[in-house]
């Protein structure tokens, strides 16, 4: 009974999404206030039914209702209660429902927090969001109904994919989707502005906090995914350029370009068409990612069970949404470049370079990801380009970004004095060079990459710190750092941490595969690893071989690690579960290999893989700083407290708000 109720709730939500799309947009076109006023109630109503449907599916998982086919496929009686919640989004149908749920959360948030905005604009924004929701609900109901019954009910279910039974995977998809789907808000604002012909820059100011928050969530989601890959896939890598990773990375790259170009458009009025275009592309890439993951066009670890019907539906929807919005763009985008003029050497130019590099990087990733299909089309056979292509191209494209980043805050809008900027940044440059040379002397075998990592991260980190210091000295007390500026400083500092993490880890990690007899001690990277043998361990729904390894330095115990090899009750796959002793400056990472002798009873020798990975945690620490930067910038009251209608009457010349000096952040 309850699952049918869930399906019914989905259908009602679909109808309300239709109302939310059609009525307010029509009302805004005809200027009818009663129709416009329908937008918010429709959003609320739709959200109620989507939450109801999601709740009922969760309830089916928690109560182990194996008469629901989706529940039976993705859980079983032995599954611990906490994984029953995350099993809801463990496969295609439920994760699609999560997608819709998150879209509804965003819609409700936009409806609730944008009461100051002009009614017609809001009607269009919510209408566009309604259209997207309509498409996805229709997709769910027609091709991917999570409430389908399996009659007769099964006594026990299959299992949640063991690789998904992990704390990191409880949080990763919701965060990632929140970011992914959040770009729909910037998209909706852009389309609403195009539809309404309100091509002044007011909409950009209102869209900015939403874009920043979405970007911050996406940053967190990608970082979590990378961290998960690091400790679950069990052998120390943190990024694989897998098609599905790429699918989330492309919107991030364009989103990064977007938050920078929005800053230019909002403050200076320039790059208006470009900001519109990036708003459309960022969300289009989110949709494209959804298509790639769910259509089976590309194979990948994460790929959901594929079905050509699903692929066709999403492609049709993608074509309608993106094709339609690009058509609207072609017809209505501003013809004349607006905004204040700027010189070649100016902050605008730097941000334009940032934009070009990030969009080119996204295009590069897109091309690499779709290459197998291109190859097939040219009848050359499926060719995949693999990590070497991505790695090389990405570093190449990001090199100018890293070199120019510290100049950003020091360059003024409209026209900058490059000599002053270089003068101000001289300490950072000197520090970076000296540290790289010193590193070469202290550790002569450090590779070029390691030295570049030290230099690049100090250059960016010190450069940003110098800017923070300059504001501290020069700006009046109380007005030193606006949240927007603080967000910029945090995020760019995150870039420095990330660079340090990536390049130092790659250059200095120690990796060993060792044969350990029980109670044998071996030394790796200046630490002693003592193998205490392997025991049987029993988990809630698995049995495991669990090794015990004591790590010590100069006879002082610093960690005891318990790597496992797990055999889950539901299926025959063995999962390697590494154990990590995390640390700010180094991770100890131990994974259990194979038993090497006949004796498997706990006293034989085992192959054990030991890593010492300096600074690896800084990769995700950098991601967290970037995320905090995004949230902090979004919290700037300037975006919210401004009387909206003043801007609408003064196109292209946003009045400089009092707390915002010319040296505003990017």
């Amino acid at each position: 009974m309850l699952p049918e109720l869930g399906q019914f709730a989905l259908i009602l939500a679909l109808l309300l999404a239709g109302v939310q799309c059609a009525v307010p947009i029509f009302g805004a076109w005809r200027g009818q206030a009663t129709l416009i006023a329908l937008a918010r109630p429709a959003v609320a109503g739709q959200a109620v039914f989507v939450v109801l449907a999601f709740g009922l599916l969760t309830y089916a998982f928690v109560t182990q209702d194996f008469s629901v086919a989706y529940v039976a496929q993705n859980s079983n009686l032995a599954l611990p209660w906490y994984y029953r919640f995350s099993a809801v989004w463990g496969a295609h149908e439920g994760s699609l429902l999560l997608w819709v749920l998150i879209l509804n959360v965003w819609s409700v948030a936009v409806a609730a927090f944008s009461r100051r905005l002009p009614d017609a604009l809001m009607a269009r924004v919510l209408g566009v969001l309604g259209f997207i929701s309509f498409g996805f609900l229709l997709f769910t109901i027609l091709t991917s109904n999570p409430f389908l019954r399996h009659i007769p009910a099964l006594a026990d279910g299959n299992d949640l994919n063991p690789i998904l039974q992990d704390p990191g995977l409880i949080m990763h998809p919701p965060m990632l989707y929140t970011g992914y789907v959040g770009f729909s808000v910037a998209f909706a604002f852009a389309i609403a502005a195009l539809l309404g012909g309100e091509l002044d820059v007011a909409w950009v100011r209102w869209a900015r906090p939403w874009t920043n928050v979405a970007w911050a969530f996406l940053t967190l989601g990608i970082s979590l995914g990378s961290w998960w890959a690091y400790y679950v896939l069990g052998w120390g890598g943190w990024w694989f350029w897998d098609p599905v990773e790429n699918a989330s990375f492309m919107p991030w790259l364009v989103g990064t370009a977007l938050i920078h170009s929005q800053a230019v458009t909002e403050k200076r009025g320039s790059l208006r068409a470009w900001t519109l275009m990036l708003s459309i592309i960022a969300f289009s890439l989110s949709l494209l990612g959804t298509f790639l993951v769910r259509s089976g066009v590309l194979t990948s670890v994460h790929a959901f069970a594929s079905d050509p019907k699903r692929g066709q539906f999403i492609l049709g929807f993608l074509g309608t949404v993106v094709g339609g919005s690009l058509l609207i763009y072609a017809v209505r985008a501003p013809r004349v470049a607006g905004g204040k003029p700027f010189k070649l050497l100016s902050r605008e130019t730097l941000l334009l370079i940032n934009n070009l590099m990030f969009t080119t990087a996204a295009a590069m990733v897109l091309l690499g990801t779709l290459y197998p299909i291109v190859g097939e089309m040219l009848d050359a056979g499926r060719i995949s380009v693999g990590p070497p292509y991505f790695g090389f191209m990405f570093v190449l494209l990001m090199l100018p970004v890293v070199c120019l980043l510290p100049f950003g805050p020091f360059f003024r809008w409209a026209g900058a004095d490059w000599r002053a900027a270089i003068g101000a940044l001289k300490p950072a440059l000197i520090l970076a060079v000296v540290a790289a040379v010193a590193a070469k002397f202290i550790a002569p075998d450090t590779s070029l990459r390691g030295l570049a990592g030290v230099a690049a991260s100090l250059w960016v980190g010190t450069g940003i710190a110098l800017y923070a210091l300059k504001r501290w000295r020069e700006a009046p007390r109380g007005g030193r750092y606006t949240p927007e500026m603080l967000g910029m400083i945090l995020a760019h500092f995150g870039v420095a941490l990330f660079l340090a993490g990536v390049l130092i880890t790659e250059a200095t990690s120690v990796e060993s595969d060792l044969r350990f007899a029980p109670n044998e001690t071996k030394s790796v990277g200046g630490l002693d690893f003592k193998f205490r043998g392997v025991q049987r361990a029993q988990g809630p729904n698995y049995v495991a071989d669990e090794g015990t390894i004591e790590v010590s330095r100069n006879d002082e115990l610093i960690a005891t690690l318990h790597p496992q090899k797990r055999q889950y009750a539901g299926g025959g796959q063995i999962q390697t579960k590494s154990d990590i002793d995390p640390g700010l400056t180094r991770d100890l990472y131990v994974a259990l290999g194979e038993p090497l002798d006949e004796a498997k009873q706990g006293n034989g020798a085992w192959a054990v893989r030991v890593y010492v990975k300096p600074f690896v945690r800084w990769i995700w620490l950098g991601g967290l700083f970037m995320m905090f930067g995004g949230f902090t910038a979004a919290a700037d009251r300037r975006f919210r407290s401004l009387p909206a209608r003043d801007d609408a009457t003064a196109p292209a010349t946003p009045a400089a708000p009092p707390a915002q000096p010319a040296q505003a952040s990017a």
Partner: protein, 184 residues
């Protein structure tokens, strides 16, 4: 106006490509006849052994007995999912299992095999991916069933699952041994 239509045109080209991708997938069930090489002789190769790069295995060395080439790489997460299935379900079949370590660093591959176990009877390396191109490998993992005469009889793109082993690989292996079972 024309200039503003360029993004739309690019996008439409992309949709065309993706539509082609879907159509291609429909007509080339990944599980059925995905490769023009099926039914043709396996391409010539001579590749060094992973554990002794001074020695190598060539196509002609393998003639006379059927074998299964499994393309893998230590960089490939899906291979790691496939690995326990290879060990538990394909190795016991008794067919000669050749690992083709594709676009990979030999040291990484050795570590990978040391950690997860080595189910292969022999591992050959294709570091620059040239043999992969000859075989039409599009992504790892991929597997080729080659008969005693050196003809490719079956190709699997993507990982083996218990279902694909039961429904595809086992029947194909059974077909291989039919003539062999009759001839003596």
């Amino acid at each position: 106006m024309i200039g503003r239509l360029i993004p739309l045109a690019v996008f439409l080209a992309l949709v065309g490509l993706l539509l082609f991708g879907i159509e291609w997938n429909k007509h080339h069930e990944m599980s059925e006849v995905p490769s023009p090489l099926v039914g043709k002789p396996a391409p010539e190769f001579t590749l060094p052994l992973l554990y002794d790069s001074t020695k190598s295995i060539a196509r002609r060395d393998l003639l006379g007995k059927p074998y299964l080439i499994n393309v893998f790489g230590s960089w490939c997460p899906t291979c790691q999912f496939e690995h326990p299935i290879l060990t538990a379900q394909i190795k016991p079949l008794g067919i000669k299992l050749i690992g083709l370590d594709w676009k990979d660093q030999p040291d990484d591959a050795k570590r990978w095999l040391a950690q997860f176990g080595n189910p292969y009877d022999a591992v050959i390396t294709d570091q620059d991916g040239h043999a992969g191109i000859d075989f039409g490998v599009y992504m790892a993992p991929e597997s080729f069933l080659v008969d005693a005469q050196g003809m490719i009889r079956y190709k699997r793109i993507g990982m083996f699952t218990p279902e694909t082993i039961k429904n595809e690989l086992l029947p194909k292996i059974a077909e291989l041994s039919k003539p062999a079972a009759v001839s003596p």
